[in-house]
């Protein structure tokens, strides 16, 4: 029992058909209406070997690729560690802003707390994201700290407090 598997070429002069028997592969060539059958069993074996080699190669390549990826990941982690330890300081401008707006008696404490959170974020998320979070924390602190500054100025206190109570903030 055989079936047509592939049509290799077709033109005016030649038609090729590949047929697969139970144990062999045949090429049926038609030339001007005359057919000739070529047994490709040997070639089939050869193809199988090539496919086998190709599969082996793929497997080997996959393994090598996997090993390289593992090495690369290890190096990346090492680089991140080095990156983290090479500069553990929060963004200078953000520190300046926080210090500028903080109440006088709590300025250093606030910077210390922000730095402690920064160090914790560095370990959890890496330095780049920790810097972004530091900026985010500082910007979110601007409103309350400015409000505290104004309140502490005394003259503004009554007006600000009145306004705050009016808007329910």
């Amino acid at each position: 029992m055989s079936h047509r598997e592939d049509k290799q070429n077709q033109n005016v002069d030649l038609d090729y058909f590949l047929t697969r028997g139970d144990r062999s592969l045949h090429l049926i060539k038609f030339s001007r209406g005359v057919g000739a059958i070529h047994n490709l069993s040997r070639n089939t074996v050869l193809l199988d070997e090539r496919q086998h080699l190709a599969l082996q190669y793929d497997e080997q390549t996959r393994q090598e690729l996997s090993d390289l990826r593992e090495k690369l990941d290890a190096q990346r982690e090492r680089l991140d560690e080095l990156d983290d330890t090479s500069d553990t300081n929060p963004p200078g401008l953000a520190q300046f802003l926080a210090r500028l707006l903080s109440p006088k008696e709590h300025g250093e404490t606030i910077l210390g707390d922000l730095q402690e959170i920064f160090q914790r974020d560095c370990k959890a998320f890496g330095r780049r994201r920790a810097r972004l979070l530091y900026w985010s924390g500082t910007i979110r602190s601007v409103g309350p700290l400015v409000f505290t500054k104004l309140r502490n100025w005394g003259l503004f206190a009554a007006v600000i407090e009145y306004g705050r109570r009016k808007i329910g903030w």
Binding site: H106, I110, L111, Q115, I117, G137, S141, F147
Partner: protein, 108 residues
């Protein structure tokens, strides 16, 4: 009659009591996040602490400096007797208002 205190002040005072004797800015922030689900900025917490301190509700105490804080000292906070009294009055007022009210979903 003690000074009225706001909701954030109330929360901060309760967090201070929970974190005794190590209630400082980061610990208070973490406690509020865990208990209320709200992440307040460090600035908001210190603005509240500043107001509570000026009203005599809390008293600061210098703590130790650590390397991860860049050598800066922690500032621990304790509630004063006046602060505890104000907090108690505030909680009593809420409890008094809440008593007898059944909220939808409260029995789930």
């Amino acid at each position: 009659m003690p000074d009225p205190i706001g909701q954030l002040e109330q929360h901060v005072m309760l967090a201070i009591m929970r974190k005794q004797p190590a209630a400082y800015g980061v610990a208070i922030q973490q406690e509020l996040l865990e208990r209320t689900g709200r992440k307040h900025s460090v600035g908001a917490i210190y603005a509240t602490l500043d107001k509570l301190q000026k009203n005599g509700h809390v008293v600061p105490r210098q703590g130790e400096a650590t390397a991860e804080r860049g050598g800066r000292r922690k500032m621990y906070f304790n509630l004063t007797a006046k602060g505890q009294s104000a907090l108690q009055a505030s909680l009593n007022a809420i409890e008094s208002l809440r008593r007898g009210i059944r909220l939808q979903g409260a029995m789930r």
